[in-house]
Subunit: 327 residues, 4 copies
Amino acid sequence: MRIGLIGAGRIANVHARTLHQTDDATLVAVTDPDDEACEALASKYGLKRHESADTMFADDEIDAVVICSPTPQHIEHILGAARAGKPALCEKPVAMETSSVEKLNKDLEGLDPIVMLGFNRRFDPSFARVHELATAGAVGKIEQVTIISRDPAAPPREYIATSGGIFKDMTIHDFDMARFFLGDIVSVAAIGQNLDPELADTGDFDGAVITLTNAEGAAATIVNSRHCASGYDQRLEVFGCSGTLEADNLRPTTVRISGRDTTAGMDPYLDFFLTRYEAAYARELDEFLSAIAEGRTPSPNIEDGAKALRIAEAAEESARTGTIVTL
Amino acid sequence: MRIGLIGAGRIANVHARTLHQTDDATLVAVTDPDDEACEALASKYGLKRHESADTMFADDEIDAVVICSPTPQHIEHILGAARAGKPALCEKPVAMETSSVEKLNKDLEGLDPIVMLGFNRRFDPSFARVHELATAGAVGKIEQVTIISRDPAAPPREYIATSGGIFKDMTIHDFDMARFFLGDIVSVAAIGQNLDPELADTGDFDGAVITLTNAEGAAATIVNSRHCASGYDQRLEVFGCSGTLEADNLRPTTVRISGRDTTAGMDPYLDFFLTRYEAAYARELDEFLSAIAEGRTPSPNIEDGAKALRIAEAAEESARTGTIVTL
Amino acid sequence: MRIGLIGAGRIANVHARTLHQTDDATLVAVTDPDDEACEALASKYGLKRHESADTMFADDEIDAVVICSPTPQHIEHILGAARAGKPALCEKPVAMETSSVEKLNKDLEGLDPIVMLGFNRRFDPSFARVHELATAGAVGKIEQVTIISRDPAAPPREYIATSGGIFKDMTIHDFDMARFFLGDIVSVAAIGQNLDPELADTGDFDGAVITLTNAEGAAATIVNSRHCASGYDQRLEVFGCSGTLEADNLRPTTVRISGRDTTAGMDPYLDFFLTRYEAAYARELDEFLSAIAEGRTPSPNIEDGAKALRIAEAAEESARTGTIVTL
Amino acid sequence: MRIGLIGAGRIANVHARTLHQTDDATLVAVTDPDDEACEALASKYGLKRHESADTMFADDEIDAVVICSPTPQHIEHILGAARAGKPALCEKPVAMETSSVEKLNKDLEGLDPIVMLGFNRRFDPSFARVHELATAGAVGKIEQVTIISRDPAAPPREYIATSGGIFKDMTIHDFDMARFFLGDIVSVAAIGQNLDPELADTGDFDGAVITLTNAEGAAATIVNSRHCASGYDQRLEVFGCSGTLEADNLRPTTVRISGRDTTAGMDPYLDFFLTRYEAAYARELDEFLSAIAEGRTPSPNIEDGAKALRIAEAAEESARTGTIVTL
């Protein structure tokens, strides 16, 4: 399996390293309009440089692509890969608006493409294990999911301005996790918070609490913050009628320190998303390669991306209007 | 300090035992229309039996009362104690409707009574310690409070029928905890759940997720369930701008068992509220006795009861109408 | 069951309080040559004061005694109670030398007394639960027991001078715990430590590591220190062929605090033995009263005291001579 | 830095993968008398195959070697590398007898070689962090070190027969850890156990408890077992005069499961040494490459190997003779 990489930015570098380490595929080419970044990545791993995504799609020596371009280009690149018959792993989100995804789906009709969406958290070993256990009935029927999801620090103000807002930018991952456990969502109640005075004039929330329900009445609650003193706070609890599953934060060591005032104190959480989700990115790529090898639809896919996006839009509406939105 | 006990039921027995063990007061009398219960309690601790609350209020050898009568009589007994100039510790809730509490407050005008309300959780050593640390600024400004509060098992259907509904009966404690940390609440978004088919026709919810905010935009999220396989699930997390405080469940031992499939497994949680909150009841009584001794208003008091009740009414409205209610 | 208390010191006060709270017995009398202490305890609980242990033994209105006199009088008081036909709960250790216990046993022959020895740790809810699980086979055949046992702070130098040394004074409890799990001990290897310069000239060790084995080759390792910055460090691990059981320290709350540098830090351990083992003292008394009520020999008893003492003597010999002592 | 690998067995494969992933060195050659293993490794990473260690030592295009040959050849290969002026990282143990290491040291005189010994546990992120904190004085003067070290399952009987015994084969790592924290050891008290009937006739112990002391009187206690139901049990506690540091086992996820009978149960420990110490092997190699780059003596080195070996011999003597051995 020969892979081409569209993009040479931060997340592209993660995928490049993961591809370099797997035995199941070979990274062979890269393309990025940023000449310097493209050359750096190409020379590091000995890759062919393509002039554009289009020449990559036309290249017979590339079997599949990983799309790490900016979000506004995702749809164009997914379509290009699909038309070339090349399986694609595309970073989230598919697009900024539900309407764009609907158009994409129309354009893809008849192409029967293999497209996987990079909701990496489904592949985190702990979250995946909770899902596996929950699906196997280890805690009975799922009744309540509680997701604590806090970034270590807010992104730059400029980033926030073009991010699409906290729900599409940050909570989108948590919406996907809620769907991972509860399936389709039917109601959205969201509270937005403006806690950091430095971010007050961005027009975006920097904290949020969102409650989702599915048709069976199970609920998922998401608590979000743009900052967390102890690191990247990523926890999950699945409460079922016969038990509870919890996934805790990751720390660099297992060391506990005890002294006169405090005992059993641990390290701060891993605080960079690439470190925190390192294993998840590798396992996500495995799923992509396995799905191709086995000729099956990978999961999550465009539909999952569209549904998470729809929830994000509903959350924004709920938080802005003070109503509980029904989907 | 000579104490009279109004009521001889389950919670009255808790207070009797606590009063028996303290050196700061002496339980001297009890009254309850249930003859058998009253006699049992009186003979166990060598107490004088009063015919009614009224004769107790008139008794000069009683300095203060603890009101454990059924909720519908709380107002009458608070008023009686106040008119007799006796401090009173009254079990929650003050009443079933906000309107009744408003009338009570009017009737109490000019009496300047010492009335404490039995929101016992404020006195739980762990929750109280979180509050003490948070108030001292240990985690900076409070931004998000997350309360997991699940009963070990649903009460009998007959109880539910007269309970006033999950928000007034069960969540009322959590509303008080939210106020303990966030002060006055300005918005309430509630989702009600009907998960247990056995309880479907009670007309009450058996699960709920409620999000509250205060005027500064801090949020409290409450996750409730009428049942929990592992026991009485009572946890709390306070997230501030510089750290997080968590209080975990109580277990009977510190034992961890490891085997081939599972490691470090612990005991189920304490599952009976009297055991779980044993220390809280004792510390609550201490506060009542201290407040009397020091001539100060005890906390929490009728106002706290009224405000929790008002939130419960708003939660019911939010859950029934699908709107976020502003207070 | 009417109980007389011999002694009015610290541990006597613990037993008095426990007896006051139980429904199964009534504390009726106390005796202590220290007039002030005796009067204080007598008036607190409304007890009859006896002039001496002997008049107490002669009193028909006393059914059983709790012996809290200084160690040198234990044997005399055990014998007195036995001759009076009164069951006795005696604080550990029985005596300072194995030879004295042997003489006691001779003197007790034919009296068939009910004597229980106050090795309170066997009744700690967590250690007892480990024992219950281990005995029920929860971890298979026991192979290795690890006991961490550290006092919060060294006792006064004067106390150490008359304590009989760390092994008889402090480790004796751990030797009993080792026997609780492994039964009779056949070899003792001990290392003594002198770590605190302030205690260097007491002639006693202030730290120790002792390894014991039983006839089946199972081992118990005890790590002792006269001080521990985080409190009273009392942990236990039982490793069996199919699993491991651990009992952790007790803390006053379940609170965990997380900040920028440390996460999930907890309270220091309970650091006063009366607080740490409060539940153990109550359960120990229950066993004493139950054994009397059921007419059976309580456990642990004089034999257990003698065997722990014998191990302490062997440990001292091992540490002083650098040999592994066979029993 | 061009690296040659001597050996193509299991541990050689670990080093090959780690070398493949680092940017600081390039694995270029391999040699192993086992043709198949050598070819497999060579083709996987595109390596030159050398006929023997000697031709590798003579190869100017190799800058340093990693020695993964069988223990009996370690000395010969260390010497060969030293004579060729090539830095070497050699797997532990240096040799089976202290006398052989003494001869090696004599032969190395004047060669001033760079030799690092593969005591990988020093590089485990958690153990290394404990060391870093302890060295920085985070818990004051170290008084007691407790090491729990249990393999998931006993090796084959044939392996045990040629292993040199549990102390040289397994505990040698723990002896090095004890030295890592306490420096030179002056006394050794060891108890050997024969718990598994299947291993009874190997003549070797399958469990052990060893207590070491240094000249300042600090003690290290090691509890060993050839098997552990829950996985590879690798824990460490450093107790100092002002606090305690603990390193816990590693698990594949952070998931905790709670049900009716058990709560907060976790995964079994990682149970394969290559997985458990994966990060340690990578960090060990980093230290080797850094030491070469910076022209300094790497740590641990031959002297550390010799001293651990000497303790192992003393432990065997102590366990066999029932005496505490002084070094």
